[in-house]
């Protein structure tokens, strides 16, 4: 494991502190622009979320399964744009870090520096760009670093061991461990890759490791947290927002919070 020789940003400092206090980290994902999304953020924050990931809807979300695709299409149909989402975010005071997830063309079209500044002005501290792998990331990372926006890198089960140290070296905030081979969405069981991915990453970095993609309920979150520092909950949150509204998001976040606050011991 290597400890990075650099200053930590707002998000990473927050997550490292939580880890030091033995708290597992919970980050719900909410599609920006969806009816009730701002209330959903508030409800998640009030019920134990440690940060919130806000998805900027995109016309061609290749890493997303049916639930988040449907949420994106609905938000776009309702007129959501990056501008409108940033504008609404400025009115949110939830005292936990806000992270944005968006596809790269949203960043590229705006321009790297302008987009980084837009995030900053909206009170966002970090960005996840799922179709911008390490090799293509240098221009964005330069702009993000300059602005203080933390760029969260993804690490996938397909990465050979030699690749992981290069990915985590560029990670700020946390490392997003992709839990399975596939797109976002709920699965009946936690994939074995979720645990193996977290284990592999914990060996090579002390940047917080959060598992996302295919962590589908409180029990699976608890399982993943046996190794990982925390979890991201995407489709399971968005489905509740789509079907039952913002309060259902809060209830669900509370349920997951309660589960991951009770550690399970992994038999070796």
């Amino acid at each position: 494991m290597s400890s990075p020789n650099r200053d930590f940003g707002v998000l990473e400092t927050h997550l490292r502190n939580l880890r030091s206090s033995s708290r597992k980290i919970l980050v719900p994902y909410i599609t920006g622009g969806l009816t009730g999304w701002i209330d959903a953020i508030r409800s998640a924050a009030a019920n134990g979320a440690d940060a919130v990931e806000i998805g900027i809807p995109f016309s061609d979300p290749v890493m997303d399964g049916p639930v988040i695709q449907q949420a994106s299409e609905r938000a776009l149909r309702d007129g959501a744009t990056p501008t409108s989402i940033f504008h609404e975010l400025r009115s949110v005071d939830v005292r936990i870090p806000l992270i944005v997830m968006c596809y790269y063309n949203t960043v590229f079209r705006a321009g790297h520096e302008r987009f980084a500044n837009n995030l900053l002005n909206a009170g966002v501290v970090a960005a996840i760009i799922p179709d911008l792998p390490l090799e293509e990331s240098s221009d964005w990372c330069a702009a993000a670093d300059k602005t203080g926006i933390e760029t969260i890198m993804l690490a996938a089960p397909t990465a050979p061991d030699a690749r992981l140290p290069r990915v985590v070296a560029r990670a700020r905030g946390f490392v997003y461990a992709v839990g399975l081979l596939g797109v976002t969405g709920e699965r009946s069981e936690l994939a074995t890759t979720a645990i193996s991915m977290a284990t592999r990453l914990k060996k090579v970095t002390d940047v917080p490791v959060l598992v996302g993609v295919g962590v589908s309920n409180a029990a699976q979150a608890q399982q993943a947290c046996a190794v990982a520092d925390g979890v991201i909950q995407g489709a399971s949150v968005v489905r509740r927002l789509l079907d039952n509204g913002p309060d259902a998001v809060g209830h669900y976040v509370a349920e997951v919070r309660s589960a991951i606050d009770q550690p399970i011991v992994v038999a070796r």
Partner: protein, 396 residues
């Protein structure tokens, strides 16, 4: 720009997969190792004489290569030009797509993959993929926008007949771009066992380069055949339709270093190069139809095969340096071109290729006496039902 300042070399992209500023590998982290593995596998296969011989044998004995040149004496005389067609429509499965698919399917086998995934617009690449899969004993799944499934039902049946599974894609605009999205989602989940056979010179590196290499057989043959037919000369113009742009890159590649105008004809409702705004989608940086926020726009064209809001990155490069030009034609002009080639030469073109016919017809007054080589990349059988609805009784 003087002709001296225009680059006339065919680029081989380096590790960054760039054609100038275009191209690259903008894929989810899950797919990066797969793209790297594919790049190595292709480079190794392409320089392996056994692989090349195997591919060339298939192209000759199965696909029916070389495809011939046909001079359009009637239409040429009518337009005041010399018009010669490269007959990719005569290949097995009826289009140029078989050139790339045979190469990719052989490569998939070489890489130990048992299953191929493909996206399709008009269905030509899907049919070619289903054909190669049947021949080489691979499982095949084809993603096709629900709108295209509707308007190209004959090709859907062909794919099923050949033993492939066809999935209608109901997300987004339900056309080619959404079929690509769904194929990529499949690939993200099955990357260890599946090979994604992309249908055009698009996608993440090495696809744009690899598919061009597989399609370059069109340009190589055409250059030699044209010289043999025309006293050792090169054509004044080479014209091809452009959606993703694989048939155009195939024929352009043979004439990059010639003193020949290269013309890629886009549909007016899908003019990615014509609009000239760069963007990133489907793994590549290229010209892309999009709104001010970067949302990809839907292309609208009479031909399913050109209903794509992006374009292969090498076309963006060739346009940006001035080596090729990318005009567009309207659906009405395309319909007229479709009928014109059928009636003057007895050749029913694919609606995609009717775009090239339409542009040549329009341009004819400005290119009197010149020689024009057009890539007839597919035959029109698949479009007959659609045209019957459009033209109705108007043909008399």
């Amino acid at each position: 720009m003087t002709s001296k300042s225009i680059p006339r070399e065919l680029l081989t992209p380096g590790a960054d997969g760039r054609f100038g500023e275009f191209g690259g590998r903008f894929v989810p982290e899950t797919l990066v190792p797969a793209c790297e593995e594919l790049e190595q596998a292709f480079n190794s296969a392409w320089s392996d004489s056994i692989f090349r011989t195997e591919l060339n044998d298939l192209l000759r004995e199965y696909a029916g290569r070389p495809s011939i040149l046909t001079e359009c004496h009637n239409l040429g005389a009518q337009l005041g030009i010399r018009l010669i067609l490269k007959r990719e429509d005569l290949n097995h499965t009826g289009s140029h797509k078989i050139n790339s698919v045979l190469g990719q399917a052989l490569l998939a086998k070489r890489m130990g993959k048992k299953r191929i995934i493909a996206e399709t617009g008009a269905g030509q690449h899907g049919v070619a993929s289903a054909t190669a899969a049947a021949l080489l004993g691979l499982e095949c799944k084809v993603y096709m926008g629900a709108v295209d499934v509707e308007r190209q039902s004959l090709n859907v049946f062909r794919m099923k007949l050949l033993g492939s599974e066809v999935e209608a894609v109901n997300s987004g605009s339900r056309t080619l771009k959404d079929a690509v999205n769904e194929a990529m989602r499949d690939w993200v989940a099955t990357v260890e066992s599946s090979y994604y056979a992309i249908g055009s010179v698009m996608g993440p590196h090495p696809y744009p380069y690899m598919v061009r290499q597989f399609q370059s057989v069109i340009g190589q043959e055409a250059r030699q055949q044209f010289k043999a037919m025309c006293n050792g000369d090169d054509p004044d113009l080479v014209v091809a339709c452009v959606g993703g742009g694989s048939n155009a890159m195939g024929i352009f590649s043979g004439f990059i270093d010639a003193d020949t105008r290269l013309v890629g004809v886009e549909p007016a409702g899908g003019a990615a190069v014509g609009r000239g705004v760069p963007g990133v989608v489907h793994g590549m940086k290229s010209y892309l139809m999009q709104d001010e926020h970067g949302q990809v726009q839907e292309a609208h064209s009479i031909s399913a095969g050109l209903d794509y809001p992006g374009v292969g990155p090498e076309h963006s490069y060739l346009s940006s340096v001035g080596r090729a030009e990318y005009p567009s034609v309207t659906d009405d002009e395309v319909i007229a071109g479709f009928v014109l080639l059928a009636r003057s030469e007895g050749i029913i073109p694919a609606l995609e290729c009717a775009h090239a016919v339409a542009w040549i017809t329009k341009e004819a007054p400005k290119i009197q006496g010149q020689t024009v080589l057009m890539n007839l990349s597919g035959r029109g059988d698949k479009d007959v039902a659609q045209m019957m609805t459009i033209l109705g009784d108007s043909l008399g």
